[in-house]
């Protein structure tokens, strides 16, 4: 009895699963086991903890974000494959490979994982890698907070994946609309897992948002006023502003949902004075800006790439900045277009429809400006440019599909259909993911010192573009044929089956693309001697990151640059400007384990809250509180790098001449 109390809702049944889940858990356990074995065999544990897990270096944190995100992308991609397999088989008398409830958990986890742990992870990874170097600084404003953000992200990710092994996951879709997500209709711990993994990762995102706003506003190098910032930095500033305004809404909303489930309040229940429509409004007040949080940095990345590979100034810089801020503000005025079908009336629907279309204007301007950057340029079609071309081709279609969906009567017919699913995947895959992949490939030499294999890079991009077309054009068609999202079974008379099979083949091609992308990195690292970037400036680049050695030293700049113009590095090359070599001692943040430790508390808090294990949640809270206090009391947080070391490093990379 005592033990039962100590374990909350946990019992033996929480560990019983069907075969597919067991295989998943098996793969997860084996991967962790073999990774540990390898670390022990190569005696790398100390290296792992000392150099990486405790690191406050924004570049290492960025790399870790990207590794976690790619793992999550693969996992959620596997979910997609399971979904399409089910839908290809489950027709008429055949019921496929998955039970309905399991299928519903899979699409819920697919969406949640992709948005929060794949896309957000890649985004924060790239921001971490690039932003400080692009603005000419040695670190972010709050290096330790940055590691806390990262570890909260990891903690949320682990909690989400724990649901595969212990208990179950939410089957209420990636946004868990009540009343379905209320205790009455979802009595298991699934929705609580959803709530707490987002809660923990969401706080991490909010802290990152604050960190990067302060970094961009306060840590720019001398001479770089706002209108001289690279466009990527502008886009990140816009995106992080959205994070700071939107994420508290998410945190509050899912806290209320948790209270409904835990203590029986009636915020969103049907009946008892609750109102599910309130939840739908609130969740989209976060959810719509979230889309722009993800897409803006991708826009920024393409702005850098298209200018670099066209060897030309970005066209319409001022226009671009205005477009970003127009999008930031407008993105808070359109949330209702996610539920035109709720019956709000013609005036309300008409207003939000028009607001939604207005967002298309700044977005269209950006596309035209990129194209005009290519005009009278000297374009090399390197792998990042192939991603860019794919982005323009596919994102434009997704964009006009979005404008179409913004007309309420058109939305009545296409809402919740696979047409809608195809639309938002056009934005998130060919917009967001293509942008981030292009960014990783583009900046890879800078943080690793290794140039990536071009051939594999191009094949990967072509496979993704091809795979996207094969996977999602059938979904547009299926939407027109009346197929709704989230179905695990349908009648053969609908004529949908062939299209589902084709879409499944598309998922396989995308999977092949992901494998090629990963092997591009592995192969290039394997051949690192011949792929070494010896100049620090492999593309004849424009912005500050190319002015330093590759891989970027952990202090980024031996001498902080002084900026005179936009794209200052390019201009300084044109003017053959030389710089004063005045070296000074610098201080850098010391590594710290406290962020890692704090996130273990967050996990305990979350796990305890999911399973109603009160003592565990209290322990978790105490760990978090203790970590913050411990960090506050730590005074010795920095160390000094003497200027002699900086000079030595520079000579080693550039040779005596410079």
């Amino acid at each position: 009895m005592m033990l039962a109390n100590l374990l909350g809702l946990l019992n033996v049944d929480s560990f019983r699963h069907d075969i597919i889940q067991n295989v998943g858990v098996g793969i997860m356990t084996l991967s962790i086991f073999f990774a540990s074995l390898a670390l022990t065999y190569f005696r790398k544990w100390k290296w792992l903890f000392g150099e990486w897990l405790s690191s406050l270096d924004h570049k290492k944190i960025g790399v870790m974000y990207i590794i976690v995100a790619v793992l999550m992308l693969s996992k959620a991609g596997f979910d997609a494959l399971l979904m399409r397999t089910q839908q290809s088989l489950s027709v008429g008398n055949n019921h496929g490979i998955l039970a309905s409830q399991h299928y519903q958990q899979i699409f819920s986890s697919h969406g949640t994982t992709m948005i929060f742990f794949a896309a957000m992870g890649l985004m924060f990874g790239i921001i971490n890698l690039a932003v400080p170097i692009l603005i000419g600084t040695r670190d972010v404003a709050f290096p330790w907070l940055n590691s806390v953000s990262f570890w909260l992200f990891v903690s949320g990710m682990i909690l989400l994946n724990t649901s595969l092994a212990i208990g179950d996951f939410s089957g209420a879709g990636w946004l868990a609309y009540p009343p379905l997500s209320e205790l009455q209709f979802s009595p298991t711990v699934g929705v609580d897992y959803w709530i707490w993994s987002l809660q923990i990762a969401g706080v991490g995102s909010l802290l990152s948002g604050i960190n990067f706003i302060v970094t961009i506003l306060m840590k720019r190098t001398k001479g770089m006023n706002l209108m001289k910032m690279p466009m990527f930095v502008w886009s990140v500033l816009g995106s992080m502003t959205l994070v700071v305004f939107a994420f508290p809404v998410l945190t509050a909303t899912i806290t209320l949902l948790y209270l409904d489930r835990l203590v029986g309040t009636h915020f969103f229940t049907s009946g008892g004075g609750g109102n599910p429509m309130m939840y739908v409004n609130l969740i989209w007040a976060w959810g719509h800006p979230e889309v722009y949080i993800l897409i803006l940095p991708a826009f920024g990345i393409f702005s850098e790439i298209v200018a670099t590979f066209s060897k030309k100034k970005l066209f319409g810089y001022t226009s671009m900045v205005w477009a970003i801020w127009a999008i930031v503000i407008l993105s808070f005025t359109v949330w209702l277009h996610h539920f035109f079908t709720m019956g709000a009336g013609a005036d309300v629907n008409g207003f939000f429809g028009i607001m939604t279309m207005i967002i298309a204007i700044p977005t269209g301007v950006k596309i035209f400006n990129w194209l005009f950057t290519m005009f009278r340029g000297k374009i090399t079609f390197s792998a990042p440019m192939i991603w860019f071309v794919g982005f323009i081709l596919l994102f434009s279609i997704g964009g006009v599909a979005g404008v179409l969906l913004a007309v309420p009567p058109a939305d009545f017919q296409l809402h919740n259909s696979l047409f809608l699913v195809a639309h938002f995947h056009s934005m998130i895959v060919s917009g967001v993911l293509f942008g981030y992949f292009a960014g990783i490939v583009y900046w890879f030499p800078k943080f690793s010192g290794i140039k990536l294999n071009e051939r594999l890079g191009k094949i990967a991009a072509y496979l993704w573009i091809l795979g996207f077309i094969v996977a999602f054009v059938p979904l547009y068609a299926l939407g027109i044929m009346g197929a709704t999202r989230r179905m695990d079974h349908y009648s053969p008379s609908m004529g949908w089956q062939p299209l589902f099979i084709v879409a499944g083949v598309g998922v396989l091609i995308i999977g092949l693309g992901l494998l090629t992308l990963v092997s591009q990195v592995l192969y290039s690292v394997y051949k690192h001697v011949e792929n070494k970037d010896r100049t620090g400036d492999p593309y004849d680049g424009r912005t500050l990151e190319w002015s330093i050695p590759s891989p970027a030293p952990h202090y980024n700049f031996s001498i902080l640059p002084i900026v005179k113009k936009t794209d200052d590095f390019w201009e300084s090359k044109q003017e053959k400007r030389s710089r004063d070599l005045v070296y000074k001692d610098i201080s850098m943040p010391k590594n710290s384990y406290i962020g890692l430790f704090l996130s273990s508390g967050a996990f305990a808090l979350g796990f305890g809250a999911v399973w109603h294990i009160l003592w565990l949640s209290i322990v978790g809270l105490l760990i978090i509180l203790g970590s913050v206090i411990a960090r506050t009391l730590t005074e010795d947080t920095e160390y000094t790098i003497p200027k002699e070391k900086l000079i030595l490093d520079d000579i080693q990379f550039y040779g005596e001449g410079k």
Partner: protein
């Protein structure tokens, strides 16, 4: 890249998309294969927006292709102006074209939002038929209040007659969607939404729930049979003569979760059933004490 190779690469997706379009046109593309006035108007709005979007897509694709070919590095004969980064004229066009398109579409949006407001009753000199719809776990209950009959997962309606639906849910949120007749509307517990349709083509049209509502969601299928007036009257008569009665007790049984329910009918429905289902969720004193356990 050689021109032949580029053409080959470009033609692949075009052939793929064309074959998908061909496939769809030979099957029941429900959204476009309309059998009702509302669906027809919605279809024309979809097609108009698609047409309008060509004014963005075509220039974007053309510029992408032309600039990619003309200004590639290996083409030494093209002009190179590395500092051409600003032009008031060009940028005004960029802001101008999308603005004009959006203004046109905004007018369409505002007008059509009002014209095709699902709450607006359809003008007709034929007397409309009222049908109350209740989404249950996991089936649809249809009540004909004026005839005191009800049916599950299938309804018959007469051709060319306006139908006014009132919809609610006694389960999680669902969405009522018959693509060939009209766009969808949510059904929510404790709330009543409205939808008016008119069908001008006889036939049987499939409907489903478009919003996830739990385990049996995929099986929440129903059919709307559009029939002639005499067939409709006969159907009412035969329904009246069946034995099943829907009162509070049989409703209790019906509302328990069941999946893939085959259609059946009730010969009699108690008058206030829909009102009572709605009332379950409103905050009366009686309900409050139930909810709070007092």
């Amino acid at each position: 890249m050689k021109l032949a190779k580029v053409l080959f690469l470009v033609s692949l997706p075009i052939i793929f998309i064309a074959s998908i379009v061909l496939y769809v046109s030979h099957h029941n593309a429900q959204v476009f294969n309309t059998a009702g006035t509302i669906a027809k108007d919605e279809k024309s709005i979809i097609l108009f927006s698609m047409f309008l979007s060509l004014f963005v897509l075509v220039p974007v694709y053309l510029m992408l292709i032309i600039f990619s070919v003309k200004y590639r590095e290996s083409n030494k004969s093209s002009k190179y102006s590395p500092n051409f980064s600003h032009s008031k004229a060009v940028e005004s066009v960029w802001w101008g074209i999308p603005t004009i398109l959006i203004i046109i579409l905004s007018v369409v949006t505002w007008r059509s939002s009002h014209q095709l407001d699902p709450y607006k009753m359809i003008d007709s000199n034929i007397k409309p038929i009222n049908i109350q719809v209740v989404a249950l776990d996991w089936k649809w209950l249809f009540i004909y209040p004026d005839k005191s009959i009800a049916s599950v997962n299938s309804i018959n309606i007469p051709i060319n007659t306006p139908i006014n639906f009132e919809l609610t849910s006694d389960a999680p949120m669902n969405s009522f969607w018959v693509p060939q007749l009209s766009g969808q509307i949510y059904t929510m517990p404790g709330m009543s939404t409205k939808l008016s349709i008119l069908s001008d083509k006889k036939g049987s049209y499939s409907g489903r729930s478009a919003n996830i509502s739990g385990k049996g969601f995929a099986g929440m299928l129903f059919s709307v049979n559009v029939v002639s007036n005499s067939e409709y009257n006969n159907w009412i008569k035969s329904t009246k003569s069946s034995t099943k009665v829907l009162n509070d007790r049989s409703y209790e049984t019906l509302s328990k979760p069941t999946e893939n329910v085959q259609p059946f009918t009730y010969s009699f429905v108690s008058a206030d059933l829909y009102k009572n289902i709605l009332g379950k969720y409103t905050l009366s004193d009686n309900n409050m004490s139930k909810v709070m356990g007092m």
